[in-house]
Amino acid sequence: MLNLLQVFSTGLGLAGYYALVAVGFALIFATLRIFHVAHGTVFMTAGYAFFGLHRLAGLHIALAAACALAIAALVGLLIDKIIYGPVLKRGGGMFSVFIASLGVSLIFESGFLVWSKGVVSVARAELLDIFIVGDVVLRRFDFFILAIVALAYGALYLWLHRTSTGLAIRGLTDNSELSAIVGVEVAKTRNAIFLVASSLAGLAGVLTAYDTGMTPASGVQTLFIGVVAVILGGTRNILLGAIVGAAALGMLTAFAGYFFPEWISFSIFAMMIILIIFRPQGLLG
Amino acid sequence: MTSANNGLRIDGLAMNFGGVFVFDDVTIDIPPGKVTACIGPNGAGKTTIINIVCGVFAPRAGEIFVDGVKLAGVRPFDTVRHGLCRSFQDVRIFPFLTALENILVAMPGQSGENLLGLFTPGARAQERANREKARLLLQTVALEGAAGRPAGELPFGQQKLVSLLRAVATGARVLLLDEPAAGVEIDLIPRVVDLIRALAKAEGRATFLVEHNIDLVREVADHVCVLQGGRIIASGAAEHVLGDETVIREYLGRVYNA
């Protein structure tokens, strides 16, 4: 029983990372119908940039984190402008963009492979900061992550519900054809979506690089976790869906990791396939 | 329903989509060798009748008989097995198949469609015969020149003709044609008329027509029923129904006001 609580707390920590990645992915998928595989790339780019700026260039940790976020946002925006835009303009559809996006992630991944095959990590002593409640060991850093997730979601909620851009974005999820009439606004909204979603992925990337570290494979893993979270939560309500999906997935990963660690990706993806078959609109849809 | 060959009978069909009422008590006889047309304003549920017959939707009430045999639990892909075939208002041609292939693909019982059958010499001979049949079908609408062209590149009217021939090629005894003339270029309409006549008169197929174009209906239909306001308001021999002042006022009035 106490073991379960421990697993639960681990799952909660994981859910925090997943939530940051998933909500950005969901935002792009629900509004633009783009299956942004390279969202994982953006996540990874932030982590490597953070590592490079802080560890190699010696920038102050906060400054390095801020720069890494900006780089992630920019990379996300440029992927849309340089790759997806032309594919769509030349008559490509959802599947073509998906393949092109795979291409982007292959290129970035190869770059990081050249940089380092192993884990790059900024990890520090604070990570060992733990406290014990009963028999459960808790990491202070996990609470830090959850606090950041709460802040990010709060800001996102205000952005979506209190600004005109947010209104336009929610319009896109409801009826994209209606919103498309507004022409110029759509391009602006599109940029905003990519910038915000990529910053959130970047935030997760910086935190991951700080915590467990990045490997060239982290991007794809993280992306698919985001995807499964979105399929779990559905895209009707982006924020709620992503957080429910991420929480469920965090728990699944933690429990699978505890009881049958060899079968983690089997569990995740088997569940994804089963969901697609029986509830493609998500658990909440 | 005593004869073994009395076409399609739609008996007391009732339908609603969720809470939205579509129609009630629709009864239509579609005998072989005749063209039966259903006219009515947009949204009256004419296409819905075809969709129900083909098993796309389940009706609230009513029965469907083909040659006296009741249809039950039919799914779209086994309509042809029961002797029915439909066409679509929006053609749904196979754009990357040639006009000839569009017709060929519809032919039933091809041993060349089975993995083992396709390597047998019998399949070759059958395919040659089918090609000849398909070519003849194209000739009936003077489209033999388009045989080798991808159907997606043909003008809309020609696509529609090909899609009608496709339904014909299935060999179905009952044809359900959804607005075969809609969107067809004016100079091709006589070919549509001739084809539909030939199907019923020369080949004895039971032909059901859902159509907006009242001139076409006048030219091809033997029987006409008018679906309006959720029920059949008039039904009978074409010249009677189309000569009925109230029908014409109701129908044409709506069409021209729309």
Binding site: F35, V87, R90, G91, F95, S96, V97, I99, A100, L102, G103, V104, L106, I107, S110, G111, L113, V114, K117, F224, W263, I264, S265, F266, I268, F269, A270, M272, I273, I276, I277, P280 | P76, F77, D78, T79, V80, R81, C85, S87, F88, R92, I93, F94, F96, L97, E101, L104, V105, A106, P108, Q110, G112, E113, L115, L118, F119, E127, A167, T170
Partner: protein
């Protein structure tokens, strides 16, 4: 010479995989993103039977073909009801599901991550003989695929791809054709898996990941969708090109990433400039 034989064998193996993938993706319009799973099943069945149970390799190959076909049919069955993009996503998930299966349940030789020590019969024993046999099998598959796509069956497959609802209205159940061709493609991919094991002498789960499935996509994307010659062309060009990268004199740790980056560029370039590939008859429309 040894190395040339090896390359020729490898090309032959991937030609079979690409032909099979093109049957489902290019001709039937089913977005198969998990072909590596069936490749792995074939490789594990052939190598497992041969190494652990001492089954004659010819028989093991036949078993690989049959088992992969059956596994393909069994995995497609529940997926038939989903369409479009979610189908692609589900097949993509198969890569990860099967990786864990290979990793956790796949037989392995003591002290290694995978299987080695195949006992190959004469037709596969020397590198020359192995190349000749594999190439002959690839040629056979090529002819079989050409026969299929040129037949009434091939026509029906293209009709499934273009308008499944219209085909259903003509009295032919699209799912029947999808099931049939998916199983055929799975069987051929499984055969290729068995041959792949004989080519490499060693298999482990890392050979059958998403990367391999993407590779298949790159091959037929470059060569051309709905084209048998396209499948051959894509594989030959890319493997030869890839091989030539080795002779650039780069440090060896850069060759792999460079290949990967070029594949990425190719995918992007194809999607922007030529979605039908070099000689394709169809393109990624969705």
């Amino acid at each position: 010479m040894e190395h040339l034989y090896y390359l020729g064998t490898l090309i032959s193996v991937w030609i079979i995989v690409a032909l099979a993938a093109n049957l489902v993706i290019g001709y039937t319009g089913m977005m198969a993103m998990g072909q590596a799973a069936y490749l792995g099943v074939g490789a594990y069945v052939a190598a497992g039977l041969n190494v652990l149970l001492g089954v004659n390799f010819h028989l093991a190959l036949l078993a690989a073909l049959l088992v992969s076909g059956a596994v393909a049919a069994a995995t497609l069955w529940p997926l038939l009801r989903i369409g479009g993009f979610y189908f692609a996503l589900a097949t993509l998930g198969l890569n990860f599901v099967f990786f864990d299966i290979f990793h956790n349940l796949g037989p392995r030789v003591e002290g290694s991550e995978g299987l080695h020590g195949l006992k190959l019969p004469d037709l596969f024993a020397g590198s020359g003989a192995r190349f000749a046999t594999t190439a002959a099998l690839a040629a056979l598959c090529f002819l079989a695929c050409r026969t299929i796509v040129g037949s009434p069956l091939g026509r029906a497959l293209r009709a499934v791809r273009d308008r499944p609802d219209a085909l259903a209205a003509l009295g032919k159940d699209p799912r029947r054709y999808q099931m049939l061709i998916w199983s055929v493609a799975g069987a051929l991919t499984g055969l290729a898996g068995g041959l792949y094991a004989a080519t490499l002498f060693y298999i482990d789960p890392t050979l059958f990941t998403l990367d391999a499935s993407i590779l298949v996509l790159v091959y037929i994307g470059v060569g051309g969708l709905a084209s048998t010659w396209g499948s051959v062309l894509g594989v030959v060009l890319l493997i030869v090109f890839n091989e030539s990268l080795r002779y650039l004199g780069l440090p060896s740790q850069y060759v792999g990433p460079l290949q990967q980056a070029l594949y990425g560029l190719l995918l992007i370039g194809l999607m922007i400039f030529r979605r039908r590939g070099l000689v394709g008859e169809y393109d990624f429309r969705e």
